[in-house]
Symmetry: C2
Subunit: 339 residues, 2 copies
DNA sequence: CTTGACACCTAAATCGATTTAGTTTATACT
DNA sequence: AGTATAAACTAAATCGATTTAGGTGTCAAG
C-alpha cells in the first residue's frame, strides 16, 4: 500500500535509480526529469521507507533507553520523568527515534546484548548507574556508543552527565548546621547506586566540615519512594533521642518523611526540619514547601541525548563528561533547631 | 562487525539460505547440519538483524507513542508517567519496541503522517484525546492501526480505553453534598480535551442530582498543573462569597489549590474542602491526604498497549472499547462544610 | 539398467532503498 | 566522416534476512 520508488518509477517511465537520484538532487539527472519525479513523488505522498534506508546505511536511526526494573520505579520517579522529557525533545530535534524499553531485573544484560546484536539501536542512554555497573562493562566491551547519567565507582572513561551529589548534600548539612541542628538524620537510597553513594558521602563530609558527630542510628538506608521515606521517618522519630533534622536523599523520600511527621502532629520546619534533593516540580507545592537541592532534570536529559547523538555521528565532543554543581533551595520545611 | 548469516555460512561451508533454514528448524535440513549451524551461531553470538527482518516482513516491530506538546506536560504528568509504565511493560512482553516521540504543537499531523509513510511503526497509541481530534481523523483516514486513551465527541468507532470521568466527578459532588457543601467550585482542565469535558459534565450532573445551583463564577477553566490550580484557587478564595469546597479536575490542580489555601492559613478539610482526580501516587502523601477519584493508570497503559498489539496482529479482540468506572477515595482533604 | 522418490541443499527473487559502474545518445571537434 | 566527450540514463550489486523454485545425489523398486 505505501508508495515506493518503484511506484514513482512506473509512473514517470524511468528506472528506480533514476528516481532515487532525482529525489536526491544528483547532478546527472536532467532538470525536466527531476522536476517530474519530484512532482509525482509529492503527488503520491512518497516518503522513503525508514527500514530500507536503515538497512542500507547500517544504522538504526534510533537510540535506546532501557529503564532498569529495580524498585518498580521506572517513570514514576518525577525526576526521571523530567529527564525523559529532555531526552525526547533532544532526539526529536535530530529526527532520531527513541526506543524505550523495560528491562527485567535478571537479564538486563541480555537485553542490551540483544539490542546491540540485532542492530536495533545506534546507542544507549544509561540511567541510574551503579557503583559497579554491569551494563557499562558490557557496553564498553561491545564497543556500543552510550552516554550515562551518573558515574560508576571505577574506571569512568566514558561519556556521562552527572551532578555533584556530595556537594549538594553537603550544602544541605551546612544549611541545617547554621540553623543550629546537631542531631541530623539521613535517609539514603540503596547504596549500590552511585548517586546514592555520593550523596551519602556528602552527608558525612558535611557533618565533618561542621564538626558534627555521625550517629549511626540516625542513618537509614532504604528504597526510593514515599513509602520508604515514611517508614524511615517513623523509625527515626521513635528513637529515644530523635533527630531535629532529617536529610532525605531525594524529594520523594522527604515527602514521605514529612507525611509521617505531620501525621504525628509535628510542624515541619519548626518541630523538625526535613530536606529533599532533586527539586521535582512538586516540592514547591507541598505544605510547607520543601527545602531541597535543585537539579535541572530536563536539561540533563537533553545534554545526555545530545552527547549521545554526537558520539554516534563521531562528531567532536567539546566535553565528554559534565558534572553539575547543584544549589540549595531553601523553603519552609527547614527552620531553626528547636531549643 | 556484527555477525550475519553470511558469516555463519562461510564458517560451516554452507549457503546462506541453508543456514537460515537450519536456524529456523525447517525440515529439509539434515540433523547434523542443523546442529552444526546452531552451534556456530551460538558461538559467534548471532542475532538476526532486526532491520533486515523488518524489511522482509514489512513490519516495523515497533509501536509509536507521540506525546502531544500542548502545555509542556509530556511525561511530567504523574498520571501519564504511570500510564507509560504500563505501556512499556506490555510491549516489552511481546518483544515489540516502543517509539516515544515528541510532537511539536503545529505539525503533529505531519509527524503522524511521516511515521506512517516511512513505515517506522506498526501502530499508534493516542493520548490526551480531544473532542475533535485531528490525529484520529488522520489515522482513520490512513487506515493505520491505533488505540486511543480517551474518546472523542463524535464518531467513536475505534479502539479505546477510557474512564467514565463524568461518573467519577459526580461521585465527588455527591460526597461533598453529603458533607453539607452547597457552594462548590470547579477547576477544569482545558475543555478541548475530551477528558476535561466529561469531567466538567459530571460536575454539572452532580450538582443537579443533588439539587445544587450552578454558580458560573465558581467555575474556572485553566491548564493542567499546580501553578494553574494555585491561581484558580486564589481567584476563588478571593471571591466575596468563596466556595466551601473546590473540586479540581485532576490531582495536580488540587495540590496547587491546597497550597494556595494553606498559604492563606486555611486548614484544608476543615475551612475548605479540596478534591482531586486520578489518584496519582503522591495524593496519599500530602498533608492532608487528598480525597480523589482512583484510576488505575498503569493498567490503562497495559490495556491500551495490549489492544494495539492485538489489533496489529489482526488477532480477535474480545472488546474494542473499555470504559472504566472509577471509585471515590475519601481522605483528609474533604470534610464537613463549615457552618 | 532405468526410473522414481526422497533427502538435502543451493540459486534466484524479494523487501526498498542507494551506489558504482557502465551504456546509450547526442553534440562537438578535427 | 570519424572520434572524443559530455549528458542522461540504466543494470547490477549491496545491505541481511526469507522464501520459492529448482537441482543433485543416493537408494529402492521395477
Amino acid at each position: 500500500m505505501p508508495v515506493t520508488l518503484k511506484d514513482i518509477a512506473r509512473r514517470v517511465g524511468k528506472s528506480v535509480p533514476t528516481v532515487s537520484r532525482a529525489l536526491g538532487n544528483h547532478a546527472d539527472i536532467s532538470p525536466e526529469t527531476r522536476a517530474e519525479v519530484q512532482r509525482v513523488a509529492r503527488e503520491l505522498g512518497y516518503e522513503p521507507s525508514a527500514i530500507a534506508l536503515n538497512l542500507r546505511r547500517r544504522r538504526a536511526g534510533a537510540v535506546s533507553l532501557i529503564s532498569p526494573a529495580h524498585a518498580q520505579v521506572r517513570f514514576s520517579d518525577p525526576f526521571f520523568a523530567e529527564f525523559l522529557n529532555g531526552v525526547v525533545e533532544a532526539v526529536a530535534e535530530q529526527h532520531i527515534d527513541l526506543l524505550v524499553t523495560a528491562g527485567a531485573e535478571e537479564d538486563v544484560e541480555a537485553l542490551y546484548l540483544k539490542q546491540i546484536r540485532s542492530r536495533r539501536t545506534d546507542g544507549f542512554i544509561v540511567v541510574r548507574t551503579q557503583r559497579n555497573d554491569s551494563r557499562i562493562h558490557l557496553l564498553r566491551e561491545q564497543g556500543a556508543p552510550f552516554v550515562a547519567y551518573g558515574r560508576t565507582e571505577e574506571n569512568n572513561d566514558f561519556c556521562f552527565v552527572d551532578e555533584d551529589g556530595a556537594a549538594g548534600i553537603a550544602l544541605v548539612v551546612d544549611h541545617l548546621a547554621s540553623l543550629g541542628h546537631r542531631r541530623i538524620a539521613y535517609i539514603s537510597e540503596p547504596l549500590f547506586l552511585t548517586k546514592a553513594y555520593h550523596r551519602m558521602t556528602g552527608f558525612r563530609q558535611g557533618l565533618e566540615r561542621n564538626r558534627l558527630p555521625f550517629h549511626p542510628e540516625l542513618f537509614v538506608e532504604t528504597h526510593f519512594r514515599q513509602r520508604s521515606g515514611r517508614q524511615a521517618a517513623a523509625y527515626l522519630l521513635d528513637l529515644p533521642q530523635p533527630p531535629t533534622a532529617i536529610v532525605a536523599a531525594n524529594d520523594l523520600l522527604a515527602l514521605g518523611a514529612m507525611h509521617e511527621a505531620q501525621s504525628r502532629g509535628l510542624t515541619v520546619g519548626r518541630d523538625v526540619s526535613i530536606t529533599g534533593f532533586d527539586d521535582i516540580p512538586l516540592t514547591e507545592y507541598v505544605h510547607p514547601a520543601l527545602t531541597t537541592v535543585h537539579l535541572p532534570a530536563q536539561e540533563f536529559g537533553r545534554r545526555v541525548a545530545q552527547m549521545l547523538l554526537k558520539l554516534i555521528d563521531k562528531a567532536p565532543l567539546e566535553e565528554r563528561q559534565f558534572i553539575y554543581q547543584p544549589s540549595l533551595v531553601v523553603r519552609g520545611s527547614s527552620g531553626p533547631a528547636p531549643a
